[in-house]
Symmetry: C2
Subunit: 144 residues, 2 copies
Amino acid sequence: MGPLDSYLPYLLNRAGARIATAFNDEVRPLGATLQIWRVLAALREQDGRRMGDLSDTTSIEVSTLTRLVDNMEQKGLVARRRDAGDARAILLHVAPAGRRLTQRILPIAERYEAVALAGFNAGETEMLKAALRRLYANMDGLTE
Amino acid sequence: MGPLDSYLPYLLNRAGARIATAFNDEVRPLGATLQIWRVLAALREQDGRRMGDLSDTTSIEVSTLTRLVDNMEQKGLVARRRDAGDARAILLHVAPAGRRLTQRILPIAERYEAVALAGFNAGETEMLKAALRRLYANMDGLTE
DNA sequence: TACTATTATTTGCATTTACAAATAAATGCA
DNA sequence: TGCATTTATTTGTAAATGCAAATAATAGTA
């Protein structure tokens, strides 16, 4: 293996960690965290999701997610409801405070997108995003 | 903000998390972790580094790194030496067991690079890596 | 030289995280 | 229907994480 900064997982982690840390610092004054934002963003995309589904989309491990949701529920950001059709499952819904918080974080999220992609034109941006999706899909090759 | 999977930090985190989890599972039987590998890889690139330097290259927070290094030192993977020129600083060196572990992990790391980039040609690969470096650099715009 | 500010690392402590086991419900099938 | 298997979530528990404060040494300057 050559130099570290030509190793893809390294570059990926480094970029991700930097954005994550900065974003986290920024939303903390709002009483949020990156993880909370991830859940809210997932619910914004589609409300009433199962824990397992949320775990998949947010990349937060289920047992961690359970406790994060406990916390968010206490803060009134979300509400658990037992799935009527399948009583094993929970459907998580945003609550009013969660919607308000989402609205406050959205402009920050948009700013991060813009800053990260500063100097990228539309074609480059799309190419990068496509590559990241492809990369994610490629990992199927390992986990079966 | 549009759909989640067009949001760059999301794509970045998702890809990174997936690789990280899989890699971690794979090196665990060797008595290693992803974080341990990060330190070893950084030392392989250049031995005798300061804690702060290591923190920067590995994206591991310094206080976390201190304890990780405690652990690695106990396992005989690395050794701390006080910097002769500046007694505040520690220079971290690989130890024989660390070198051996590095050799065992290297092929795994190479495989991950290959799997992640399956189907990418040389040009696409270089473009992606360049984009990730640029993205990282772009974040200077926020943290000053 | 003494004093203040800066830099490098570690430690205190509360929170977050994740593996494994436990619980609870649905499904498949004898 | 009854029982074993699978699926969904939570809980137990130990380890990892990260902010803030503490410690230690250097550098800058009056």
